[in-house]
């Protein structure tokens, strides 16, 4: 199964190198991988923020059809008691990857009697994604993942991102999916070391840059060392969004007030 995506700049020359994953183009591109990244860019927005004692994952919830049971669509999943994952891209591919990762978490516990570190499971998932960029007859996974967790020994929080090419790296805060560039710019401008509720607010503020505000358009999960992963209720999210809006309004008012005095 190959990606058949119409390339905007598709000359006949380039088109010849994008059918099979195992073929490099003359200028060193693997087009199938790049098309997979396109699929990620069309997926819903996902953001992750690492605080000193809390890590927050947020995902955009596109409007749910009226008849759909929204509880069956869980976008932020736990891989183990101390690891969680959010992704952007093809959700069906995500199911496969998540399943393999969950098995690996338990398998690791069985063989070495230790829970996985965040880096280990990220390396595993990224390795899996890479394998599918170097095999015949398969296509890459069309998703980027944000993996968060606390290392079991040190208790240090960690946030990692993988992408369809199989690369991974650690981040203080990152975004993927739709409009991830604007979210990342926002985070770069506004990131500072936070903890607890401040981290949640930062994540929601980043998401609100690209998503319609409101509890029903955002899904947020908070991970702490003591309580593991906790999905926030819609009401909670609405409350925090209201706080953020109030703060924004207050900031605007403060900006306008001095000019009135002068």
């Amino acid at each position: 199964m190959l990606f058949v995506v119409a390339t905007k700049h598709g000359t006949k020359q380039m088109a010849r190198y994008d059918r099979a994953i195992t073929v490099f183009s003359p200028d060193g591109h693997l087009f199938q991988v790049e098309y997979a990244l396109e699929a990620v860019r069309k997926g819903n927005a996902a953001v992750g923020v690492r605080g000193t004692d809390t890590i927050v994952l947020g995902v955009e919830k596109k409007s749910t059809p009226k008849l759909q049971d929204s509880r069956s669509v869980r976008k932020i999943v736990s891989l183990d008691t101390h690891i969680a994952l959010a992704c952007a891209g093809l959700k069906a591919d995500a199911r496969v990857l998540i399943n393999r990762a969950r098995i690996e978490c338990q398998s690791h516990r069985l063989t070495v009697e230790d829970p996985v570190t965040v880096e280990y499971i990220t390396r595993y998932i990224a390795g899996l994604q890479q394998k599918y960029t170097q095999s015949g007859g398969v296509r890459p996974f069309g998703l980027s993942t944000l993996i968060v967790g606390f290392d079991p020994d040190t208790g240090v929080p960690a946030l990692y991102q993988t992408d369809p090419s199989g690369t991974f790296s650690a981040w203080k805060a990152n975004a993927t999916g739709r409009n991830s560039n604007s979210m990342r710019e926002f985070l770069e401008k506004n990131y500072k070391e936070t903890s607890g509720q401040e981290t949640v607010k930062l994540a929601i503020r980043a998401l609100l840059e690209v998503v319609e505000s409101g509890g029903k358009n955002i899904e947020i999960a908070v991970m702490t060392k003591e309580h593991g992963l906790r999905q926030l209720e819609e009401a909670e999210i609405d409350a925090i969004v209201a706080e953020i809006e109030a703060e924004k309004a207050a900031a605007e008012a403060a900006k306008k007030a001095p000019s009135r005095d002068t």
Partner: protein, 253 residues
């Protein structure tokens, strides 16, 4: 009240790790020597019948007690070996048998039960876990059998507390009281005499103590120390230790 669909789910488990014990296999001959690799000269579990595991169901809870000695021939390696594993938040797995098999098999079951919980968002029911365990034993039985006897106790909100007796040859029974090992001769007799359904915690622990006293006084190589674990609506946890020999450095917790 485990529905048939839950039972079939148990068999759809992905075997997360091939059974790693390198057991000797008989060559593939079409003869009666082919099949199960139980050594013919050893009565199955004879060495391990010194290990006592017993359990009973009370009013809204289940108790599993096991001895805590790790023995090899005439040597006692340690007398604080915990043989009752906490399978998940509301399940206990008391096991006796070959030391290597016991740990390997019970950990394998535990990890698969956890995997089910992560995949499906809800924990496995006690009956489903028992059937899965029994299924794994049955699958291995005629190839590379595990010599492990298991008492699986659990608490489900809809069913209450239940106890399952799982033999090394993959027998499965839902029981109110069960026991393994030489100690079972004494424990079952005591329980037959004093057990009644819906016992309170005090009565049940008293009965367990009676069984332990019986084992200690009547079994020639009786294990000195026992651990008692309980599972009820508040979860699975250690209840008490009964130690008659306290080594230096044996932690009672």
């Amino acid at each position: 009240m485990c529905s048939k669909s839950q039972r079939s789910v148990a068999f759809r488990f992905h075997r997360i790790l091939r059974r790693t014990t390198n057991r000797p296999c008989f060559p593939r001959l079409r003869s009666s020597f082919d099949t199960a690799a139980f050594f013919p000269d050893r009565r199955e579990g004879s060495k391990k019948e010194m290990e006592c595991v017993f359990g009973l169901v009370g009013d809204g809870f289940a108790l599993v007690a096991a001895d805590t000695s790790a023995v090899h021939s005439i040597l006692v390696h340690k007398s604080n070996e915990d043989k009752v594993m906490i399978l998940d938040s509301h399940k206990l797995l008391g096991a006796s048998g070959e030391a290597g098999d016991r740990v390997q098999f019970t950990e394998y079951i535990q990890k698969n039960v956890h995997l089910y919980e992560f995949r499906n968002g809800i924990p496995l029911a006690t009956a489903a876990a028992a059937n899965f365990t029994r299924g794994e034993l049955a699958l291995a039985l005629r190839k590379n059998p595990y010599s492990v006897n298991i008492l699986l106790a659990g608490y489900d909100k809809d069913v209450g507390a239940s106890l399952y007796y799982i033999d090394y040859i993959a027998t499965l029974h839902k029981v109110d009281k069960g026991a393994f090992g030489y100690g079972s001769y004494f424990a079952l007799s005591m329980m037959d005499r004093h057990y009644h359904s819906g016992m309170s915690l005090e009565e049940a622990v008293d009965l367990v103590d009676k069984c332990i006293i019986e084992i200690r006084s009547r079994l020639v190589v009786a294990p000195p120390n026992f651990v008692i674990k309980i599972v009820d609506k508040d979860g699975a946890r250690e209840y008490a230790w009964r130690e008659s020999i306290k080594d230096a450095g044996v932690s009672a917790a």
